[in-house]
Symmetry: D3
Amino acid sequence: MHVRVINPNTTRAMTDLVGRSARAVAGTTLPGVRVDAVQPTMGPASIESHYEEALAVPGVLEQVALGEAEGVDAYVLACFGDPGLDAARELARGPVLGLAEAAFHAAAMVGRRFTVVTTLARTVPRAHELLARYGMTGACVGVHACEVPVLALEDPASDALARVTAACVRAVAEDDADAVVLGCAGMAEFTGHIAAAVGVPVVDGVVAGTTFAASLLAIGARPAGHGEHAPPPPKAMAGLLAPFAIAPGTALPALARPRAAVVL
Amino acid sequence: MHVRVINPNTTRAMTDLVGRSARAVAGTTLPGVRVDAVQPTMGPASIESHYEEALAVPGVLEQVALGEAEGVDAYVLACFGDPGLDAARELARGPVLGLAEAAFHAAAMVGRRFTVVTTLARTVPRAHELLARYGMTGACVGVHACEVPVLALEDPASDALARVTAACVRAVAEDDADAVVLGCAGMAEFTGHIAAAVGVPVVDGVVAGTTFAASLLAIGARPAGHGEHAPPPPKAMAGLLAPFAIAPGTALPALARPRAAVVL
Amino acid sequence: MHVRVINPNTTRAMTDLVGRSARAVAGTTLPGVRVDAVQPTMGPASIESHYEEALAVPGVLEQVALGEAEGVDAYVLACFGDPGLDAARELARGPVLGLAEAAFHAAAMVGRRFTVVTTLARTVPRAHELLARYGMTGACVGVHACEVPVLALEDPASDALARVTAACVRAVAEDDADAVVLGCAGMAEFTGHIAAAVGVPVVDGVVAGTTFAASLLAIGARPAGHGEHAPPPPKAMAGLLAPFAIAPGTALPALARPRAAVVL
Amino acid sequence: MHVRVINPNTTRAMTDLVGRSARAVAGTTLPGVRVDAVQPTMGPASIESHYEEALAVPGVLEQVALGEAEGVDAYVLACFGDPGLDAARELARGPVLGLAEAAFHAAAMVGRRFTVVTTLARTVPRAHELLARYGMTGACVGVHACEVPVLALEDPASDALARVTAACVRAVAEDDADAVVLGCAGMAEFTGHIAAAVGVPVVDGVVAGTTFAASLLAIGARPAGHGEHAPPPPKAMAGLLAPFAIAPGTALPALARPRAAVVL
Amino acid sequence: MHVRVINPNTTRAMTDLVGRSARAVAGTTLPGVRVDAVQPTMGPASIESHYEEALAVPGVLEQVALGEAEGVDAYVLACFGDPGLDAARELARGPVLGLAEAAFHAAAMVGRRFTVVTTLARTVPRAHELLARYGMTGACVGVHACEVPVLALEDPASDALARVTAACVRAVAEDDADAVVLGCAGMAEFTGHIAAAVGVPVVDGVVAGTTFAASLLAIGARPAGHGEHAPPPPKAMAGLLAPFAIAPGTALPALARPRAAVVL
Amino acid sequence: MHVRVINPNTTRAMTDLVGRSARAVAGTTLPGVRVDAVQPTMGPASIESHYEEALAVPGVLEQVALGEAEGVDAYVLACFGDPGLDAARELARGPVLGLAEAAFHAAAMVGRRFTVVTTLARTVPRAHELLARYGMTGACVGVHACEVPVLALEDPASDALARVTAACVRAVAEDDADAVVLGCAGMAEFTGHIAAAVGVPVVDGVVAGTTFAASLLAIGARPAGHGEHAPPPPKAMAGLLAPFAIAPGTALPALARPRAAVVL
């Protein structure tokens, strides 16, 4: 089995980070699963607004198309806005999981009430929208911003770890929560440190998504490929996005053929 | 006041159609409002899947950016999936309305129960997702597909009008509905014909969006420009999407500067 | 087109106020729309309890009946409890909008989260009931009372403007709201002052209702006149309310015939 | 204890009917409770539309005011639209129960899924609105109209009993329901006949309301008289409704003083 | 009519307490109703965790089986977690009411907003689960723990009354509630004292359940005995629980035959 | 890691079945995880009513207590009613997953709309209750009974496979579902056969629960052991259930000490 984590932004350090986390969890418990991480060739350096999330989607689709050409079995989209999830499901034959989706499901399975700590306040409404989509509005007792920008999370010189940890401690206390969901893929390596501080399970979607993708493959739960998530029909694409056109008789866009995925 | 309708796909005939509809409603009742219609320079010929909707979003953002550079006051996104709505709101200083959003609000104001007739069955779940987002799950008593492809709606040789009308008649009878919402911008010129057949109000989002956009401007309800929909922060964009980068100290992406919008 | 604003209470100063607001918004943007304001010949001087709201309804119905006899095209009920809305829809051939209904829809179209500032605390539960009816429970992030009585709003010697403004500033800050809805028709002329203070759009239902009523007429969305809102059947009325009886073969109550509406 | 059933319409036969039902249930099980039934001096002969329901409210309030002057302890409003319930609660010192309210609560306590059989189809949306208000949307698995007019229910020459029974049998079968709620006070004496036919409990709100009103008195659950349902403030009432004015220093409208309630 | 209150725990003082409360309310208003109270022969001394609630259920079922053998007409389960309610409904021919169920319905009939004061914080999520089951999530504006253990409620030397009262006063003030629900059967005799302190109705489920059980019997609302709550099928039971086996051709478990209920 | 599947009923053939399924999925993908299956020493032979589900709970708790004494890391409760889930979570230090819980989460991750096929119609309301608890009401588009008794599922001479398969085919077609959830642990070995017939993913909770339990262990998401699911307090247990008493100073009931779990 081959599970690929797609970092939807174009910052190499974050791709490396999510790859390390995903490989670590797979290495100890899923020895038969190959796990790698990639990033798009196009799009924003980080995702902190709807505009950036929207412009991350073509790159996510590019990477899914390349993965399909290569035979990848399942994908995790490592951004908490779950950008392009439904479109990716149309391209992929196997499971595709969003970071928020996986983290919410994991948190809901360990306790009745979870809280979320995300980056900037402007992303909070999107988190609520995703909670509603996944049926988790009742299970989530709070969404809190720590106001640490995404790229500061990767900067060892920043005080990001301290600030995210403090926000988690506050969130658990205020919300009387049974678990904390980390609201950004960039927090993946903070999990252990925060768990020690808060005393309740801390859920990072990168590892949750990786193990759940492997679980879905293990139980044979591959999407059906028809209905809402059937392959997109052949269609012309104008201008800049012409490489995404799907020619009649082909299952994938033109861009999936010549190039190979950049596996980090 | 200048209200611009953006056709998110790249088919000129549909841009012409939504422009005619929007200008017609404005001409009779909003003489002081300038209304025009544009289409992106990039993206899919029509939108019938999540993949296509996702790839329509960059073009929508391109057109909003160009509109802002030109001084447009408000926008209507003329595709029933409301592609890129939140991202567009970050770029625009004035109101941005989605087609489904406007149609749902209009239908909810004329009766307690509305039904929706859309194009392909695979788009039905997206309609339900938008109903939930706008609080309209309780007001909507049915979503029905007529299985007419989007571009057939514009083909006078097709039987699209007859099939959409028949689907609307069935939907109103089955659902005991007080109004019908047309689930595709391409049905905009069918309104009168269908209304005569069903005997209840028929709501097209192109004209609803145009009049509501003018209404919001008239009552001074321009978004605040902070919080969730504050302007996106400056950010590098890699590869194909580099023209969407927003340089520090600028409010709009680079692509908004040299080019002018294509007003049809 | 003729849009009539009905002030459900019997205080002339408030009828004048809502008439001025409605005509102002129509004058600048809807030159073809005739807008006037009326008040009932019966009922409470102001509406601050369920008892008063209930007793305002006969007067609202009287005015709709008179309006129908006169050929009015659409109505706005200028009280935040939307008194008699469903009954009025049975009498009227055209759209009837409630103040809360129009304001909620407008606020929902300019941002994801709106807050409401109303008059007395005892009216807060009714506001929540209306939010639920219109599907806006999720969009509304707070309902706040400023404890200013309705008639004090019209008293220039009172400190009403200062107190309502202060309540709006607090509400926006506490709720992190994208818009404020004014919860009483008597606040209609405070809009500009409050908007300057809060920095987010301030929505008054009088002007929202007036422009939306004109919008619904413009797009042909007249209610169907059957189903839930079909004309009421002929029926005897006893005692004091005998003038509201609808005789067989007539569409309107007896009181609609001899008298003319009092247009202010 | 004195529980009064108010028939909100002005048809004496229906007042007699609900009085018989209420006294019958009280006679066998609540020997210490005095039960009577009254009707307003004003308003519609029957209630089958929003217009008629709205115009029944002043008469309901008249009767509550008279009952308060007389020392009545609790009220049941014997119309399935629960007309004027909140306003009545402001006037009364003791419990006031709506017919639908009482029936829904009773049905919810005997099984998980109940179905409703009402009179005309046009009243179905109001039933759904009341279900939502009382939190019963999930417990109710169907609302069905039998298209028997209200006054035909009291006409022994009509086929009303057969048609209502048939509708109940169909509703239970289609909805796999654990109980049936009768959606009109006029069906009160059909209960036994229908119960024999359907094989599940049949809930009539007149008797449910009467026993629950006595229960609330027995456990001391009298409303608090402040907050939302505090007594209405003194207020002038114009024109036809002047008798409903509440003078400063008085707790009840003028009409409550000279006249006595018509106890049938 | 014979209504039996089952105390699900095995502490005699609490059985005595709920029996006194239930008999008191019946004595004054339901002279024809026989009311008694029993407790299981097995299970926990008090119920403050899911573990204890789960282990109280066999004893509840034992007592219902014994009551059925004896001809009891209706039951009230006097623990706020409503332990074994659905299973008890399968065994009983008459109504079975849970303590929380009865209290929530009563509170919802006296005002729009009620608050709950329960014992330990760890029981709060179960209260929310029951609120959701009964459709009362919207009516309940708060659930508060007073951190008084169940058995301290019965200890006259404890400060339980003072602490529960203080928690109720705080809850009403913070939540602007119209009523308080007492979240433990052990608080039944505190009702009058607390009501005097809070100024709003205080609802104890023991008396609410007793009067509602009598009400359901009075109106003939006995469950249907089919569908979800049909009698359990004959089935072998292994080991410790063998006395609960239901032999083919019998309606009740073996344990219901030889022994008599312990009526206190 | 040691994951234990607890069959809540006392039928050895079903314990063997769920053990085979769980070990099969673990064997291929989770080589480091030890998986076994046990059954209680007490309780019903199968679970098809609330009564039986209630009486299965003590046996589930017995097995969790024994598992804890033995050092088991996580549990799956292999009955679709998730009997005793919250109580089990209080006893266990690691994750405990219900069958319905795991299956619903898995199905929700492979598509937007799943349908459920369960055994007897009388269990359908419990399935809806669990869907609500886990936030899956919106994701589930149907719950269907095939009316095959639980123990017939294990009887190779029965037509159970054919009937369950036919019910699944009908459910997918009627509900336009993206996945099917099997509503009984006894259907675990039907998965492959049904998947071939329906053409969409078929989710069995035994394997979903096993892989998710391993996933939660892998990502360190062990419950916190405080709040709602803290260990139950020491408490006396009367009569038949005395072995479940927890003595002061001990973390587990007495029955966990002398005996060993029966691992099949």
